[in-house]
């Protein structure tokens, strides 16, 4: 049993109640709740997953299934900046593989990992709706189009200075 008060403020709890109220079945609110919690806490902790499962009335492991299915949801604390590399067709034929290798090399991590300095988390995604700019990379909310392997370091550096 996870009590809401242990991990959320009372305002946050009311927000989540409002989210659940939007749906006929509480279980339908599971993804919006995950997005909400990830926005305020950065990721979905074990406590958060347990809370949501009990809040919407599903077994704990069901919440875990949903949370791990989507690449945009994190069950571990991510780095400060999220790098989403598109691996769909247009990006792939335009050299996404090279960019991936370069990112892994620069950051010293595998896909799904977080760099040692805690700054970057690298994930692969299926299409970010920027086929015209392939190969494309999204860092936090920013879209970087027609990226080349040589441009990778410059992009990373531009975030290294930021908070």
């Amino acid at each position: 049993m996870i009590r809401s008060a242990e991990i959320f403020s009372s305002q946050e709890h009311r927000d989540m109640e409002a989210i659940v109220a939007r749906y006929d079945s509480p279980a339908s609110a599971i993804l919006p709740l995950f997005h909400y919690i990830q926005k305020i806490q950065g990721y979905l902790s074990e406590d958060a997953l347990t809370f949501v499962a009990e809040f919407v009335g599903v077994p704990h492991v069901r919440a875990f299934e949903v949370a791990t299915y989507y690449t945009m949801l994190f069950t571990d604390p991510p780095g400060r900046h999220l790098i989403q590399l598109c691996r769909n067709l247009s990006c792939h034929v335009n050299g996404a593989e090279d960019i991936l290798e370069k990112l892994k090399e620069e950051l010293g991590i595998q896909v799904g990992g977080t760099s040692g300095d805690g700054l970057f988390t690298l994930v692969e995604v299926e299409c970010i709706g920027a086929c015209d700019l392939a190969p494309a990379v999204m860092v936090d909310g920013d879209l970087h189009g027609r990226v080349s392997a040589d441009a990778v370091r410059g992009i990373l550096d531009s975030y290294r200075g930021k908070a």
Partner: protein, 892 residues
Amino acid sequence: MVRLTIDGSQIMVDGNLKVLDAAKKLGIHIPTFCDHPRLSELGACRMCLVEVEGMGKLQTACTLAVADGMVVLTDTPRVEHARKMMLEFLLINHPLECTVCDASGECTLQDFAFKYGSAETRFRGEKRVLRDHIISPLIDRNLNRCIQCKRCVRICDEIQGVTALGMSYRGAATVVGPFMDKDLDCEYCSHCIWSCPVGAITSRAMKQKVRTWELEKAEAICPFCSCGCTLLYNTRNNIVHRVTHAEGRGVNQGSLCSKGYFGYDIINHPDRITSPLVRDPEGSLRTATWDEALDTVAGRLSQILEESGGESIGGIATDRLTNEELFLFQKLFRVGFASNNIDIPSGVWSRAVLPVLEERLGVFAATNSMDELNYVNALLLIGCDITVASPIAGLKVKHAIQRGGLVTEITPKGTALSRLAKRSLVVSLGKELAFVKGLIKVVLEEGLYDEKAVGGHKRFSNLEFSVKGRDLKTIARDLDLTVDDIADTAREFASAQKASVVFGETAALQPGGQDLINALIDLMILTGKLGQEGCGLYPVITNTNFQGAVDMGVDPGRLPGHVPADSPSVRKHLEKIWKAKLPKAKGMNALEMIQAASDGSLKALYLVGVNPVASFPGGSGVTEALEKLDFLVVQELFLTETALRADVVLPAVSTAEKNGTLTSMERRIQRTQRAIEGVGHSMPDWRIFSQLGTACGKEVMKYVNAAEVLEEIAEVVPYYSGVSHRILADNGLQWPFSKEDAREIYHEGYLGTRHLLGDGLPSDKQRFAAVENWETISPDADFPMTLVLGDLLFHSGTFTRYSESLNKLASEATLFMNPQTGIGLDVPEGSAVRAISAQGEFSVRVAYAEELAPGVLFIPRHFANAPAGTLMVSTREGGTETAVVRVRVVKA
């Protein structure tokens, strides 16, 4: 019905079937991985692809509904090509480690690859290697072997209702596992192991110990509780190496629980006693021959009989024995020692609970069948953690919930059903009666009673009067419930077509439990819920063959068939057959025997599979009493605390090593058959009783086998008249039955009587008890808390302490209490406390459990570190166990 053609053969089938089922009916085998007869369809593995005329793409036979005129081909080159490709895909990642895999020989992937595939694959590159870790002490997961058929995930959810496993992550990285990839936290029911078609989920208990194809399988009845489940002992060289599920067989249809599946390691435990032991003049136990041991027992008992009479000899036998053995046990005492001093450890049920049912309903057992719980529309579960007490009956309740059955749980302690039930009401011990009277009040006030059922009842007004004293609001407030909790439960129960009541030991064996049972019976009569399919009153008595023991007359006051021991006609009948004078006077019950040993009037005690030192009320007083005896015989599998004090120890066998019959909680008489020969020089209990009786000069105790004992049971035990191995052949037989029943009636696989009271309540029983009390447990300032002595899901009595596997799941007692209670007592989690009752005390560590009602404590009664008997207070009825004890708790 629709007509379709499969591989050129026409068949008419039910239109709801899938092509896969229709093919099965024609004897056409379509390979599958994800399909399972007890699970919903999924269509994930793509092995069952078939060609259907008029459909372009291949179709999955497991999900495709049959249709009139459909033409299906299951064996074309195109189909075979598809199957080969599916196997090729699976073998990209599945490691070919059959050499060390425990599933080898029973692996569906291995079989299909052998049938369709080749050892080569066209795919190059590295195999997927997933990081894995040990997730439990008994269940092994190997992610790389997993073919993602989702059977384990579905069976855990759909059948067991636990949902401990999920499919996490996605695509090629999908893994089966528990929440947060943590350790498995579940009921250990073994369904996931059963359902896995490959070696991805296996039993750690038999890991790389034996090859599956070397094992022989023998069907038997599970010895651990009164559900009467069918299981398969897998043996080799006279050793039980594992238990497997008997698919589609028995009341459990293959399902098992943690005890049934993992508890077999008791059978070949290295500490088993393998030969008789006799205490030598120096005082130590030494090995002896059977002749010497039996002569010693026969000689000493005969001597004591001659000197002090039958009243000075007593016997207590475990209700795990077979009917044949229990029958011979009471016969040995009555015929051989002229003594009615015989009992079982659970005798409190047959003296305090079943007599209430007998008096009110004229029955001496649960009224209905376990299977009927599957279909109830409304169910009251009172003081019964059914998942723990009776796991397979618990499964049936879970299924009723899935089917929309409205289950209301009234419990001092949250249970596995709390999350699933319509409502789970935490009610303090002793206040359940007020809840039930509240239900009666609602039924009366809203006119929800059954006119026909109550029409002739003389004490209807008494019933009304008995619930007048309090209004519903007061009742609800006192129980910390809402008025609707009570009113809705009453309405649901009264209006349901199939409504049943299940009560367990915390309800029945609390002080004043009889009032509660009487109120429950009143409710059932009032709402007309007796004598019909799905309308039953079930006392959940967990002891394996409790019903058989009572039926066979292992009772100080009752002969076989529940007949009072002083009944002249029955005694006369038995005396003629047994060629002996039977004792008239009522004998002593188990507790009275211990008391009599203590004051010296009982000289000899014969204990069979019971361990009073560890489990009887009285603590050290029990040990002192046993030491005062002139002669103590213990018949056991292990040198228990009690056996160590015996003059003679006789090595007996487990259920796996003997033939006989057992009677389950639903009056079902079933055969259990020997899987291995007795370990060492041990002998089945029936043979020991027989030889001992013969050694005492009683020719009527001579039998060649257990079947011969059953013949005598069929002759002399009411309700068992005409029983034989032939009519017990398949799923057994539920008493009562007529000889015609036994021969002819075969109703949906059920032989005998599915539910009692089919002709309605006898006219002299049509009245209400109209209980006047509102509470069953009165406050006691010295001992303000109520302690529930209960079972854990993973253990059964003190017997399963010998299972290494089950000990891995739980091996020590802690005292559970609500955090609020703990804070009030200033005892943090993990701290040591003393639990003190009027009888005695012990020290134990505290664990917090939110699911307990404040002021209610729970302790498992299995373990040596907290011997429950120390606290238990003897009851008026002379039970050896009560489930509820008043205590106070102080810091140690």
